[in-house]
Symmetry: C2
Subunit: 379 residues, 2 copies
Amino acid sequence: MIYLDNAATTFPKPKSVYDNVMKAMKEYGANPGRGSHAMAMKGAKIIYETRELLAELFNLEDPMNVIFTSNATDSLNIAIKGILKPGDHVITTTMEHNSVLRPIKELEKYGVENTIVLCKVDGSIDVVDIENAIKNNTKLIVTTHASNLTGTIFPIEKIGAICKKHNITYLLDAAQSAGVLDIDVQKNNIGILSVPGHKGLLGPQGTGALLINSDIVIDTIKQGGTGSESSSLYQPNFYPDKFEAGTHNLPGIAGLNAGIKYILNEGTKSIYSHEKELIDTFIKEIRNNKKISIYGPESLENRCGVVPINIFDMDSSEVAYILDSKYNIAIRSGLHCAPLAHKTIGTEKIGAVRFSVGPFNKKTEVIIAAKALNEISNM
Amino acid sequence: MIYLDNAATTFPKPKSVYDNVMKAMKEYGANPGRGSHAMAMKGAKIIYETRELLAELFNLEDPMNVIFTSNATDSLNIAIKGILKPGDHVITTTMEHNSVLRPIKELEKYGVENTIVLCKVDGSIDVVDIENAIKNNTKLIVTTHASNLTGTIFPIEKIGAICKKHNITYLLDAAQSAGVLDIDVQKNNIGILSVPGHKGLLGPQGTGALLINSDIVIDTIKQGGTGSESSSLYQPNFYPDKFEAGTHNLPGIAGLNAGIKYILNEGTKSIYSHEKELIDTFIKEIRNNKKISIYGPESLENRCGVVPINIFDMDSSEVAYILDSKYNIAIRSGLHCAPLAHKTIGTEKIGAVRFSVGPFNKKTEVIIAAKALNEISNM
């Protein structure tokens, strides 16, 4: 099987990820932070080390400001709901995933205003439009780093600079970029970084994180046992415990630990350059086929490892079905939980066929996929 | 190492649990429900099958009312926050875990009233006290099934009957009982059942579930991509998608799948009877030691596999340290995230040393642990 659905979740993971998950379950499968015996301590150590690895990768000063979550959606909800109060205003864009848009639309019911900045047909944003949308009550700007539909890379350093200038917190959704594109929360003025564990960071599903590089008050949406201040009926007010009620996903975090080590070892530059080469090859193979529409930015420099296409008059799900059943190629069709992004690029009615590469894809695989598309377009 | 900290998380898990986690990662590690290709479909199938298994184990009618969460704390927050609105009243007890108490105390800030019914020194509840606490605005009664501190089993069928009589929703926290004691949501009038995946159900950490046997409206505290109604900027209003935004913990759920199958195969009766025998043996070995205080119910019939003790004038953490370092026995000391429960049994100042057994503990292990305690008490 050729797996080109890495924007949904990366597959496969490095062998060390599988090994670490198994070790965490078999060798120290106790409850970390909930006991002082050797096994529980070993679990707690791995969790702390994973905080350090995330802090290192994204240049966050304090590893204790790394919050583990169950996925990026969880991270984004904690940040968006924790910061915005009735009367506040939030700016976001049409290229966002429903994990950003749905919490923001939910808050609208409680008097939190929003502006959703319209992006261009290639998925790119004009940062001037973001700055123009700022109002007196703007508290938060939330953008994606790279669109999950078109792969378009946003100029995060410019958006970060605008946030800094206006003293607004920047929440970056790095669902498609973490582990592939460089992110420096300090240099890029990112107040809060949301990452999934199971995509570019190569960890298992069930993991995510929030990196807090800001003094802004974030309320909790969840309370419970933290193994700290246990005599109190109130949630502790320090990080990370404030946001980490209940038992951690230890096997997941142990796997993520190995995933991040793999990335730190390979280097994001090498991973990104590999993915760019794959995308370049793929696009070159289908570019001259007039029946195929390719969406997203023209320049390879503005795109991460995601290419959505449509074959002239075919439904995207039909193309996906043929790719799966006839060619054994896994991709994702439909709306990709990003309805406004599809509207932005003009595909809200038909959806799109999304190809997304990962660090373990080979050039031959994208060539086979491109050839399959050319064949299907001639059926 | 002798592991007697199963109330924190069971260890080890059945071999099939480890195998299923690995299979989910290596063989069908795609994103379930986010693509229509073979791998994603296989993941979606395992998830649905696990809903069916949970529904079977707890006699819930519709598997689509099984909601996957990241742990029992997550489940409890979803239920408590989703149901209670300003002006409502909730009844709970002093034997609850902070995963129940902290969300309820948080809601107090927003005008949700609560009554925390005082339990007896053995951790038991007088159901009359619950019924007497009911007011006109009582919307929810939340109790544990078995205390994580004393192991005391609550008469859930009686509490369920009171809830039915007064048309109040019963939320049962089965953190210590799911997979060991029989629970029938229909027969016991349980409106909502909260379970962790990684304790008695023998799944991996990072898993939990909420089983909804009620028509009560539960609002979401989290929104995001669900792979359904993707063109909408609002969270779908049907189960389970309403509460399952973001990527599932597929390896975790696949492991839980195997854990539940193990339980259905062994039978809860056999597991409970094994644990009862271990507890019986353990208590008999230390009962005559005047320096050891044993907490919880006198009768074995009213206790699940948890026994907290203290050695006369020793700090509970010191006993834990000696057990770990000298005897290689893993238990949990301190307050167990249950401050009011400790107050109820009179140990809020000194904490307690909690022994908790699981299906894989052997009689020899609890005898060794008891002998260690007798030795320590004579140091």
